[in-house]
Symmetry: C2
Subunit: 228 residues, 2 copies
DNA sequence: CCAAAAGTGTTGGGGATACACCCATGA
DNA sequence: TCATGGGTGTATCCCCAACACTTTTGG
């Protein structure tokens, strides 16, 4: 919406604020889940939204994302990546907020949240079941999912969705869930091994079938690797 | 730099502002050029920087980028893409500014700027000759160049650096300049034709050698196309 | 011995790369 | 006729996709 000095809405908002919004993903029960909060105040009271908050003047944007994430989940270290900034004038009806969206990935060992009283209403929700959200958060979530999909195919980002030790089928499953398509087992194994990303570190135990070998990533730092 | 309530620099800045910075590219004389302005005021007086400015409360972030670009160059329509937001606390020593960076591409027919008095000190400069800039603008420029390189290889973005009608060698030259490597002429032609992106629209005239066929893009809207 | 998931090789086709000569025009 | 850049085909290699059976364990 275009506004200028002739428009009565000019200076509808006296100030602009910057905020971060977080798309926090984990694979839970064979589904891609995202962290959602229930809003406590008007104008979106009791609607769902992505977690997030205002950027303080003394913290960098990255620090803000990290702090908000920690305050809401109790998790200190996680893979975090800035996605895109959403800056429509009307995205928040009560004030002018420019939001910088982040994607955060955590593995399924870390999904139990230590929420404080303040942040009690925070939930994991399968992305496929996310309802209409407050603000433009459906748009942000859609953007985040699409970034996640594409980064899976050309980086080692999957390591952030896996526990320290994992079987190859577990890894393949993550690709299948997020890319929504089945992969050929033999070709997948060939590809992953050829990239020389993982070390064998043991064997599974106590399963009622042939136990899988367990692997671990040699490096967990972000790298460009063509996978598909 | 981390700051908290115990730190004397807490609330050093009372407000935060959001701004856009523009990395405007064109191919000029077989080099990738970027638009630079000379800063008029302290603390970076007479240093060079990327063009840009504060976001107003009544305009979206995209609109701001478009307006700033128009005010500084007189150009109304150009390919524009948001890159990344830079949010370090200390990036501007005089106040807290979060900057949303954009890349803008223009073709070499449009490089003559209609600058007003206010924006007189604006220049094209080869990226290879860019000096140390104000703020964190070298970092922003580096990011923009790397995005441009990668997008060249998997989208049709090159159409924004070419005039309406162009020869295939002209197009190949752009790839070679930006990617900094030579390409095989026959393989390049094969690849481009196989993608079915362009139409033949005439022939060059008045050159002291065999005239090239001229082509035009069928669609100039952003598309994903694997080129290399 | 049965159920369940792990693990293992080969083949064919398509796209990428490497490479050298003739063509059309203006001066 | 010469200088300049435009335009053209083929052979090779490598990577990707398709595909089915055997192995190992717990119950």
């Amino acid at each position: 919406m275009k506004k200028n000095k002739k428009n009565p809405e000019f200076k509808k908002y006296k100030y602009s604020f910057a905020a971060v919004d977080l798309a926090v993903f984990a694979i839970i029960k064979n589904e891609l889940n995202v962290l959602m909060v229930k809003i406590k105040y008007e104008p979106f009271k009791s609607k769902m939204s992505l977690p997030g908050g205002r950027i303080r003047t003394y913290e960098s944007v990255d620090e803000c994302a990290k702090r908000e994430f920690y305050e809401e989940t109790g998790i200190k270290n996680a893979y975090m990546e800035q996605l895109y900034s959403f800056g429509g004038v009307e995205r928040d009806p009560s004030t002018r907020i420019i939001s910088i969206a982040y994607m955060i990935l955590i593995n399924n060992r870390d999904i139990n949240l230590k929420t404080t009283e303040k942040y009690k209403e925070i939930y994991w929700m399968p992305v496929s079941e996310v309802p209409k959200l407050a603000y433009d958060h459906n748009k942000i979530l859609k953007y985040a999912v699409s970034r996640l999909k594409s980064k899976l195919t050309y980086t080692n980002i999957v390591c952030n969705l896996l526990p320290q030790k994992f079987g190859l089928s577990e890894m393949k499953k993550i690709y299948e869930i997020i890319l929504s398509r089945e992969l050929d087992k033999r070709n997948f194994r060939k590809k992953i091994f050829s990239l020389d990303l993982i070390n064998e570190v043991g064997r599974e135990a106590g399963v009622p079938h042939r136990p899988s070998k367990l692997y671990s990533f040699k490096k967990r730092s972000p790298m460009i690797v063509e996978i598909f």
